[in-house]
Symmetry: C2
Subunit: 301 residues, 2 copies
């Protein structure tokens, strides 16, 4: 494979995008924080299916990390990411320095109001403001026809869809299903911080999603009963600290009704201790989710 | 002149812009609230100098009006605006219904933090959030190479420049000097609400700018002395209620130093009663400004 072109400046990326568009090429953008894994590569494959040119951005966006969060510890294996992009047929790797995305005196912020409030928004104040702002900048920098996001960050995907529709971005937002290890653990750049014991405990997330889905298939429609089941599964991981385990509307993220009637998001965020870290309070926060589908099951009794 | 194409839908405007760009044409956008006057036509002339295709948007953006403001009373002479656009050689008039700019469930807002706070931002909470949000939407809808704004709304222009730079819009923001009546009154769509006596009083704004400029030319550099002079000129209008008269940095809008050293914005906002209105407390709020240039005067004694 030809190595991807590495671009650090917005103006250079915009000039490239203009030339590609003039030549009639469709452009797909895959925004990432880097530390690429098979989940990201699934996004790149989807991008290649939908466009002639694929841009992957590698940018650990500082404004989406809160004061006590893991910005400093976030992995940044640039050369490895580059090799993965080359093997995946990526055309451009956009790796801007922070000052390129936040010029001196930058003071413009984008808020997607209601969608930013629950779930991760409650636990991470300012996180989604940082996400919305940087995604808008990346869309304006790469000028894509389509942008591809993973469904693991389900709230982020819902928010980006809303942002693009509200601000009238001329771009299609595409979600790609979660990629999991063979034993069910959802891929995450943060999984590297789990030791063997914590990795075993982290399976509680996917197992609780499976349990809820199985109960639903067995006819359980009561939201409280499903959440109790999820709580019991998560409690099997003695070190898990649950930030949230909630049932919500997949589009508006409004709380689900007491009895599930339509597609319903089951979303989890759970922290585990990072043992052996300099900071004894360090933890890794994992998220996972599944959209439960009560109707389709009712159609096939 | 060929009448302009009237477009009401964002998707249609985007498709038009894509086709023009593919054909190699440069596009200029002139965002307005309609009720066009010679000040707007100066923007259109500047737009035509800089691009092959000119889009004028006519949209009375509800989100930039506060609860007690003049949204309902804002003039909307659509047919007259259209005739002026035709005579000025405008290619596209973009006149979206409100639901096209704010789709159902819209919840995305753009804030330009520091620049939104002083001057009109203090008097009109939420105004600049509405301006920033709608300008971003209009830029994304018309996909212009250049967007042209009047210097009369000086704070708006500073904010739009910042917005475009911060979010990395690939667009050039151009300011056009204030257009005035022969006697000095800055053109405004709101001047129609002034009766003869109030129109005469409204000359206090431009006269106070002239007085400050003359004092500066005479060697006055003391900010307090210049503002006292402005206050005396404004006091000659017995019905004027001054919202602000301030000296500020033209780019950051930070307060000017006690002794003027570089280019300094003198910005005014003054309200006059609208006599004969249904609401006896109705008033018209006029703004005006000038960038004072102490250095250039020092160079030519």
């Amino acid at each position: 494979m030809t190595p991807p072109r590495i671009v650090e400046r917005v103006a250079e990326l915009q000039a490239w995008a203009d030339a590609e568009r003039l030549a009639g090429a469709r452009i797909a953008l895959v925004p990432t924080l880097g530390a690429l894994h098979a989940g990201h590569l699934a996004l790149v494959r989807e991008a290649r299916r939908r466009a002639e040119r694929v841009v992957v951005s590698l940018f650990v966006n500082p404004t989406q990390f809160g004061p006590g969060e893991d910005l400093a510890r976030y992995p940044r294996p640039f050369q490895g990411d580059l090799a993965l992009c080359r093997d995946a047929g990526v055309d451009v790797v956009f790796a801007p320095p922070a000052g390129e995305m936040y010029p001196p005196g930058a003071q413009t912020w984008i808020e997607v109001a209601e969608l930013s409030r629950p779930l991760c928004g409650r636990d991470r104040p300012g996180h989604f403001r940082g996400v919305a702002t940087v995604v808008a900048k990346l869309l304006l920098a790469a000028k894509p026809h389509v942008a591809v996001f993973g469904e693991k960050d389900f709230q982020q995907l819902a928010l980006v869809r809303r942002l693009a529709a509200d601000l009238r971005f001329d771009v299609e937002i595409v979600g790609v299903p979660i990629v999991r290890e063979a034993d069910g653990l959802a891929l995450s750049s943060r999984n590297v911080h789990l030791d063997r014991a914590m990795r075993a405990e982290a399976l509680a997330l996917s197992r609780s999603l499976d349990a809820a889905e199985a109960a639903l298939a067995g006819g359980v429609r009561d939201a409280a009963a499903l959440l109790a089941l999820v709580g019991r599964e998560l409690a099997k991981a003695p070190h898990a600290r649950v930030d949230y385990a909630e049932l919500r509307d997949p589009e508006s993220l409004a709380p689900a009704p007491a009895r599930l009637a339509g597609p319903t998001l089951l979303a989890l965020a759970v922290r585990f201790p990072v043992r052996g870290a300099d900071d004894p309070s360090a933890c890794v926060r994992l998220i996972d989710n599944r959209v439960l589908q009560p109707e389709s099951l009712e159609e096939c009794p």
